[in-house]
Every structure is written in structure tokens, then in C-alpha cells.
């Protein structure tokens, strides 16, 4: 370990946030480098100064005053729910009912076809892998009859898929993947087998995974392109975003790449917000993020939640 690396990690070490073999390397460097050991000692002294500060003490009668106020509060009648409370509850219920209603209408294929905005065709490469064999097929609706071939180790083909077509096909698919002839041949079978679905295209970064919760559990999304491409793609979609790609997989693990670096965490919540928007809250050991994918805009947008998107 170099001195620069050591000093960058001093605060992490003191906060017990250094992990893996970094701890051993750090401690070894401190043992060998008097300058860094001195720097560490200075940081420790400042912390010890904070720890040694005596507790600030309240006025002696504070607890008496609090208890008197508490008694007075207890003598008051049991707090009743105010009419305003019921109004708020009623308003919340109305919003939920409205949202569900809109969602039902939106999920209806005919309504969605009518409401779907025109979107330029996006080139997509869909790769379906099976264990142990791997097969690649086209995602194009026209090419959906191309079957995955698990008996072969790798087979590839590429086609251009119109994203709205793809989504319409997925939305028409019920929970049972086999009931959708349009997709059962390629994506569905691959997803069912816990395979990998991959999609990247110029101007569009689209999660190519199934629509149903069942398929969400078994789909894994990843990019075939190097992170630098994805950073550029994300920047084109959202110039303010530092984040580039997110993926979820079968085990509820999530991996988010932030400016080329990777965070691994756990999907703690999944919700289909509407037909075209999915949201997943991803909690990693470093941060919590919300992942939103919006199909009509053909983007993946990962936004920091609570201002804590950071990579050490």
C-alpha cells in the first residue's frame, strides 16, 4: 500500500468501515511507515478529544419539569382523532383508488396501445443463457420464434427490435410465461431457466426482462458494453446523472454501477409503478438507491436516494 492510499483510508479504518484485506494492508503500512503512523495518531487524538468531552448536563429541575408537563398531558382526555385526520385518510384512499384505476386502464393492452407514445425503434441484442449451456436469440417480435438451444454452448444472432412492440408483447403475457406464444420461445424460456437477458442499443438502454413478478425473480439484466459506453449512454439520457447501469438478478441481489464503479446490494423493494415504469429500491452496504426504468423513454435512470449515492 502506498502512503496516498493509506491516508485516503485512515478515516475508513477509524470508522471500522475498511473491509477485506485492506485492513491487513493498512495496518502493515502503518507499522512500516512512521509518517502515516503519525497522521493516524493525530486523527485518533482528535477523536479521543471528542470522546473525552464530558456530557452536557441539563438543569437540575429539567426532569421535574418534564414529569409535571407529562402529568398535565396525561390528565387531558385521550387524544381523539380529529375530523381533519379522517379527511386525510379519505383523501389518501381516494388517491390510492384513483392510482389503481389508472393502473388497471394503463395495463389493458388495448388502452396501452392507444396511449403508447410513438418511439423510434431501438436496436437491441438479447442474449438468453441457460445453465449450463448458453444460447443467444433475437428479441425482435419478428424473430421471436428463434428458440434458445440449450444443448449448444453458445449461439448468437442479433436483430433489431422495436421497443414498444416488445413491451406490448410482454404486457400481453400473463403470469404463466408459456401462455404467450409471441415470447415463450425466447425470452420466456430463457428467463424461466434463470438465464441472462442482455440489452443494449444506441440511444436506448432498456432492461430486457419479463413483465411478471415471476419473471422478475428469474431475470438478470446486464450490459454487454463496457462501463464507459454506459456512462455516456446515461449521460445522454440524463446529463445530471452520475449513475450508469443497474441490474437485478434472481437472488434479489442488485448491482449498480456508478460512474464505472460497482456497488452490490440487495433489492429491498420492488414495485411496478405503471406499465412503463418500474422502480426498485436497492440497498447496498454503502448506500441506498432507487432504480427506475422507464420504457417509453427507453432509459435506465438510477437516482441517488437521500443524497447518499457515493462510492468510496
Amino acid at each position: 500500500m502506498k502512503c496516498r492510499q493509506c491516508r485516503e483510508r485512515m478515516s475508513l479504518y477509524l470508522a471500522e468501515a475498511l473491509v477485506g484485506n485492506w485492513i491487513e494492508q493498512f495496518e502493515q503500512h502503518i507499522a512500516d511507515c512512521p509518517d502515516c503512523a503519525q497522521k493516524l495518531s493525530e486523527k485518533q487524538q482528535l477523536l479521543e478529544m471528542l470522546h473525552s468531552l464530558s456530557a452536557l448536563t441539563p438543569s437540575e429541575d429539567l426532569s421535574t419539569r418534564i414529569k409535571a408537563a407529562a402529568r398535565a398531558q396525561l390528565r387531558q382526555p385521550e387524544p381523539q382523532m380529529q375530523p381533519a385526520y379522517y379527511l386525510k385518510v379519505a383523501a389518501a384512499c381516494a388517491v390510492v383508488v384513483l392510482a389503481v384505476g389508472v393502473g388497471v386502464v394503463w395495463r389493458a393492452p388495448s388502452a396501452r396501445q392507444a396511449l403508447a407514445p410513438p418511439t423510434a425503434p431501438a436496436e437491441m441484442t438479447v442474449v438468453v443463457e441457460r445453465q449450463p449451456a448458453v444460447a443467444r436469440t433475437s428479441a425482435s417480435p419478428a424473430a421471436n420464434t428463434a428458440l434458445a438451444k440449450p444443448e449448444k454452448s453458445v449461439e448468437t444472432s442479433t436483430a433489431v427490435a422495436s421497443l414498444p412492440h416488445r413491451l406490448r408483447a410482454e404486457s400481453a403475457m400473463p403470469q404463466s410465461p408459456a401462455s404467450s406464444p409471441a415470447l415463450a420461445s425466447s425470452e420466456t424460456s430463457g428467463v424461466e431457466e434463470s438465464g441472462t437477458t442482455e440489452s443494449v442499443g444506441p440511444g436506448a438502454v432498456k432492461l430486457a426482462r419479463g413483465e411478471s413478478a415471476q419473471m422478475m425473480r428469474t431475470a438478470e439484466v446486464r450490459s454487454a458494453r463496457p462501463p464507459d459506453y454506459l456512462v455516456q449512454a446515461a449521460a445522454r439520457v440524463d446529463s445530471g446523472s452520475e449513475l450508469s447501469l443497474a441490474r437485478t438478478d434472481t437472488t434479489q441481489a442488485a448491482q449498480v454501477e456508478l460512474a464505472g464503479r460497482t456497488l452490490v446490494g440487495t433489492v429491498v423493494a420492488n414495485a411496478v409503478v405503471s406499465q412503463y415504469v418500474r422502480e426498485a429500491i436497492i440497498e447496498s452496504d454503502k448506500t441506498m438507491m432507487a432504480l427506475t426504468t422507464s420504457a417509453p423513454a427507453s432509459l435506465i435512470e438510477v437516482t441517488a436516494r437521500d443524497g447518499e449515492a457515493e462510492v468510496e
Partner: protein, 236 residues
Amino acid sequence: MHIREADNETIKHPQVFVEKNGGGEQSSAEASTEQDVDDSVLVKAAQQGEAEAFGVLVDRYHRQIYGLAARMCGPAEADDITQDVFLKALDALRRFQFHGEAGFRTWLYRIGVNTAINELRQRKRSRQIMGPSLDEPVLTDDGPVQRQLSDITEEPYRLTAQNELQQAVNEVLEMLTEKQRTALVMIDLQGLTYEDAAEVLNCPLGTLKSRLVRAREAFAEKFREHEPQLIPDGTT
């Protein structure tokens, strides 16, 4: 009364918390028994309206909540904030909004942090509307300097408690962001464990440590910048 830190103390005589008329005197035997009663027993009794039980919780935790409030918002408002925290807690207890999923202390700290942050935000808003308060330090090139106005609300016990270092630490804390200040106060000044602090803030442990790292770095930088004379020996 001696403060107990543990949340899981042995239950000995929960029946002792039947409210007495006007909260009268208790025998020393009863008083010593109170300290051994588990928080959850006291909470249940308080939920039934027993003022004595809630009083024990006040005795047990008011210093810690005061310390949190004083570090977060300054000592001048800490008494009021502490009282506010306990009354909010009592109100929530009466509405059975505490289900024991977290320890009572953690839950109380959470109310304390939220109340302190609300106070800070209110101050910020009032500063934007009314301009700076005369009680706030003036930021100069040499760091924050207290205005030379006598504060008639300062009482002797506080003056003795606020030595130069305490005041300097509080002033530098004011320069940190809310999140940084909260993490630093809870862990380095209030002595909460990482796990407890993460539970109070309802955030992952990694997030808490990340905030703490940033908070310590920011604190060290500002402390060296504004209070170099108070840096411990050997620290430059």
C-alpha cells in the same frame, strides 16, 4: 437518579408503578427497584396512563436526550427540546404508536433527532425571513465569534459546563451538515454504537459509517481551521 444505559434490564417488581396520588414520595426501596425495571414494562405502564412509570423513563433518559439536543441545536434551547421530545413520546405512547419493534431508547433518540432537525430547519427558515439572530456567532475570517452581548438566560451551572473546548466543539458542529452533525453527535459524543445509531436513523450500517467518515473529516478540517489552539498536542 442514576441513569441506566441498558434496555434489557431485569424485571423485578413491575407492579410498583401503580400511580400514587400526586406522584408522592417513594421509599428508597421502591426507588432502587425502579432502576431495575425493564423499559418495556415501564412503556406498557405509561401506555396505561401511569405517570410514575413515564417519570422513571424520563429520569432514565432525559440526560441523554438533553445531550443530543444540546449538541445538535446548542444548549440554549436544549431544555425545551428535551421536554418536547418526551411529550411527543408520551403522546405517541398513548396512541400506541410504539410497538416495541425497536428499543425504547432507540425510539426516543429517533424522536430526539427528528425534533432537533426540525428545530434547525425552523431556525434556518426564520433566519432567511428575519435575518441572523443576535445569539448566533458571527462568522469572521478567524472563525465564529460570539457577539459580546450578555445573555441573561445563561445560568451558572451552564457557564461552568461550557468550557472553552465544549463551546468550540459546539461551534464547529454548527458548521457541519445536518446528517454529518447527527452522525458525529450520536457516535462520537453520545457514545451510541454504530448499530444503534443506524437504527435510530433507520439507515444501513454502511450508510451510517460513510456519513461518519465524512463528518469526522469535515469536523477535523473545520476544527483545525477555526480552533487550532485547541488541537490536542501532537496534532497539527
